[in-house]
Amino acid sequence: MLGFIARRCGLALPSLFGLLVVTFVLVRIVPHDSAAAMAGDAATPEQIAKLTKEAGLDRPIIEQFVIYVGKVARFDFGESAFSRRSVASDIKERLPATLTLTFCALAISITVGIPLGVFAALRHNEWPDYVLRIVSVLGVAVAAFWFAIMLQLLFSMQLGWLPLRGELSATMSRPERVTGFLMLDSVIAGRWDALGDALHHIILPALTLSLGGLASIVRFTRAGVLDTLQNDFVSYGRAMGYRRSRLVWRYVLRNSVTATITQIGLLFGGLIAGGVVVESIYDYPGIGSYTVQAILTGDNQVMLAVTLMVGVVYAAVNILTDLVHGLVDPRLLDKP
């Protein structure tokens, strides 16, 4: 097991270094002057020149890259040109919100998607299957920003059930920061009012973010279950008088979820990227909205750090996915 993890980590490192090189070069070759942006609208050319020198932007690009890699190795991602704080601390402050949102969305996608996929397969070519196929195609096709606005109009404006935006009501005091995860901190502080408020605020963003993943999981699970149902062991199980529910949930599903697990692994990275739009619409204060700001303002250090962070998350989730595959089918752990 440990050898398997070490092999996978070893393979991930060159990919991450490649990502760093490509991102660094892309950020440097676009015609954007970070120093000018940092100096502000009313800055003189002398002020901009001073900042360019301070930030080392007047040095050759190779030298800049070597310095940057050295810093990254020490987990120093530099200072945001605008917030003037360390990028690492900005990310640390925002990552919990993104992870909470992503896990909630993933939980919705999995807990709703897998049963629906199984159900659709069991009702193959009947009306529930047709309805679910249409819904799952729509789920993939519908734009997140449109779905978000529809949810806001219905649940916030029309029915008044759920908050429109944000992570916590403006009039609600925040619990003391311990872990950075708002809900967890609320629980630790015994602040049930804040927990309830935070849960209220995450429902619409999580639903929006889960839509695409849910549709994919329904389709993959349906296809996997349909395939497995053709196997002889299923006919044998039926002939032996196994209860239908036991046969499906215990044996058929276990043999059908390999593709779904892979899909869930890919989805996780996709959800972090998809959060950019969802967080912006709902003003959910995670990495997504931070990234949008960084792109619009040309905050290079932030763009580099966030890209690398998403790369690391992708790599970690891929390794985790391989591990789960291994748990489902231990023969895979022995393969190089």
Binding site: P31, S80, R84, Q152, P163, L164, A170, T171, L199, H200
Partner: protein
């Protein structure tokens, strides 16, 4: 103290389910002591590092300056200073400070603190320093007594007094305690407060560009006699998307939107029972810049052809819904120094064709493809480019609209070679003086800055603008600027479109709001909220 955690998984699940099912928790701004602002926050909280409209909102509430702009039209009034004197040659300025002013840290403000604040601005040399760096060095700012500050300028500079409100006075005690390697504590003040203003920054409730809370400062030097029911807490919760911003105002989640509300949202908001749209004329002009060094823009007739080809009234009335006023001058038409008799350029494609023919006869390459660069995240800028594209096509000119982000657009203007054929931007009020507009836009010494990106050069205009800068007194300066603007308009270096009307969605529970173009109505000192 909060109760420790003693709940099991089932109980937690129950609480979560109950919280998710409980309806009716959507209205966030109903508390009469808390004002929820949906306006953008500045990039950080240090008023000596950032200088833009969102920062003015922070400065006016959390900090004080020696003087402050108040009212509409703006008047500069004594604030931390009681009065000032200036030498006959305009070189020595002395400000007498108000006694007994306390910073939020409890310490008393003295002239040494004012000296420190101005030296910090110069030392950081970021945006707010732009107005002072050419005329002031640290050693020229002194404190002859506890309540007198003296500035000895390197050269006479009349806009100096207009720029004084730019500088927020900070407490050196808290800043110096957080300095590292002589960095003026710029990282610390980026996320904290060190002022004396009517509201105090709560650093624990700050996350860059996401949220900020301020609480009332009961000891503000002006007291609260003018407002018996002031707002106790300001909660800044910037809303990024326009559609969400409008919905948030309409369901009472926020008390105000930003000031760039699209015209098509006005009727919708005004139909609401809880919100309305406030319209205020501000000093913010919309310009299409032409790169005067690139052929054919180095030809006067070519520039005039372009100036006559923009559909001013179509843009203002049809696209902006009439929420702007046509301003044919290179400066807000509600500021002094405007030659009201000067005639601007009108939309006339016949004239445009005539000037185009003249330019071509003089060898100007009018048939080459052109580019206009706009901020791609700004609908209005994009629409202006598209409208111009359509009108120019009618006279046989091929214009391509190119999108970009603000940082890239301004970075491109560093040299005439990298500056595009044309680009679109606004010039807001940084300080109320012609220097803020024509002074910095058309004096050739500012070439290389985005404000002077038309790379216009006329020796006569340069001399007039420098004379205007060195002459004291508005009455003496006004005719100088009028003469300079007349000449600039004849030379037609740019296309001047409109002066802005600010549209801001406000909750009807807001009372006592006072508008000033500087800060664009973000000062909260006089505001109260109805229950």
């Amino acid at each position: 103290m909060s109760a420790p955690l003693k709940l099991g998984r089932r109980a937690l699940g129950g609480i979560a389910a109950a919280a998710m099912l409980a309806p009716g928790r959507t209205t966030q701004a109903a508390d009469p002591s808390t004002y929820v602002s949906g306006w953008a926050l500045p990039f950080n909280l240090d008023p000596h590092q950032v200088f833009d409209v969102p920062m003015q909102g922070v400065m006016l509430n959390a900090y004080d300056g020696l003087y402050r702009y108040q009212n509409d039209p703006p008047e500069i009034v004594p604030w931390l200073a009681e009065s000032h004197t200036v030498s006959d040659d305009g070189m020595v300025w002395e400000f007498k400070l108000r006694p007994g002013v306390k910073f939020h840290d409890g310490s008393e403000m003295t002239a040494e603190d004012v000296v420190y604040s101005f030296r910090r601005v110069l030392g950081l040399a970021l945006a707010p320093a732009g107005a002072f760096l050419p005329i002031l060095t640290a050693d020229r700012i002194t404190a002859p007594s506890k309540l007198v500050v003296r500035f000895e300028l390197k050269t006479p500079y009349a806009p100096f007094f207009s720029a004084i409100p730019i500088v927020s006075i900070v407490s050196p005690r808290v800043i110096q305690a957080n300095e590292k390697n002589g960095d003026w504590a710029k990282s610390w003040l980026a996320a904290n407060g060190a002022g004396s203003g009517p509201y105090k920054i709560i650093p624990t409730n700050y996350r860059p560009l996401e949220l900020l809370d301020m609480e009332i400062n009961p000891d503000h030097f002006l007291g609260w006699g003018h407002n018996p029911k002031p707002v106790k807490r300001i909660a800044y919760r910037p809303v990024k998307e326009t559609s969400t911003r409008v919905l948030a105002l309409l369901n009472g989640s926020i008390d105000c939107t930003d000031t760039n509300l699209p015209g098509d949202q006005v009727e919708r908001i005004n139909a609401s029972k809880i919100a309305f749209v406030q319209k205020d004329l501000v000093m913010r002009i919309f310009i299409i810049r032409m790169n005067n060094t690139k052929p054919p823009f180095n030809n006067l007739n070519a520039r005039k052809a372009f100036a006559h080809a923009f559909n001013y009234s179509g843009f203002i009335n049809d696209i902006l819904g009439g929420y702007a006023t046509r301003d044919p001058y290179p400066m807000p038409d509600n500021l002094w120094g405007i030659p009201k008799d000067a005639k601007g350029y009108d939309y006339d494609l016949k004239k445009a064709k005539e000037y185009m023919a003249k330019a071509m006869a003089e060898g100007a390459p009018m048939k080459r493809p052109f580019e206009i660069h706009v901020q791609s995240d700004n609908d209005q800028a994009l629409q202006s480019g598209q409208l111009f594209q359509s009108d120019l096509a009618q006279i046989g000119i091929n214009l391509k609209v190119v999108g970009g982000v603000w940082g890239n657009l301004t970075a491109n203007t560093k040299t005439p070679e990298t500056t595009p054929d044309m680009w679109v931007h606004w010039v807001s009020t940084y300080f109320v003086d012609p220097e803020n507009w024509v002074g910095q836009m058309y004096d050739s010494q500012f070439h290389g800055t985005w404000k002077a990106s038309s790379y216009y050069k006329n020796a006569e205009v340069d001399a007039l603008l420098r004379k205007g800068r060195a002459t004291l007194g508005q009455e003496a300066r006004a005719p100088i600027y009028e003469q300079a603007i007349r000449q600039i308009m004849i030379d037609c270096p740019d296309i001047w479109v409109y002066n802005s009307m600010q549209l801001q969605g406000l909750s009807k529970r807001i009372k006592g709001r006072k508008f000033c173009t500087v800060g664009q109505g973000s000062e909260m000192r006089t505001v109260s909220l109805e229950a």
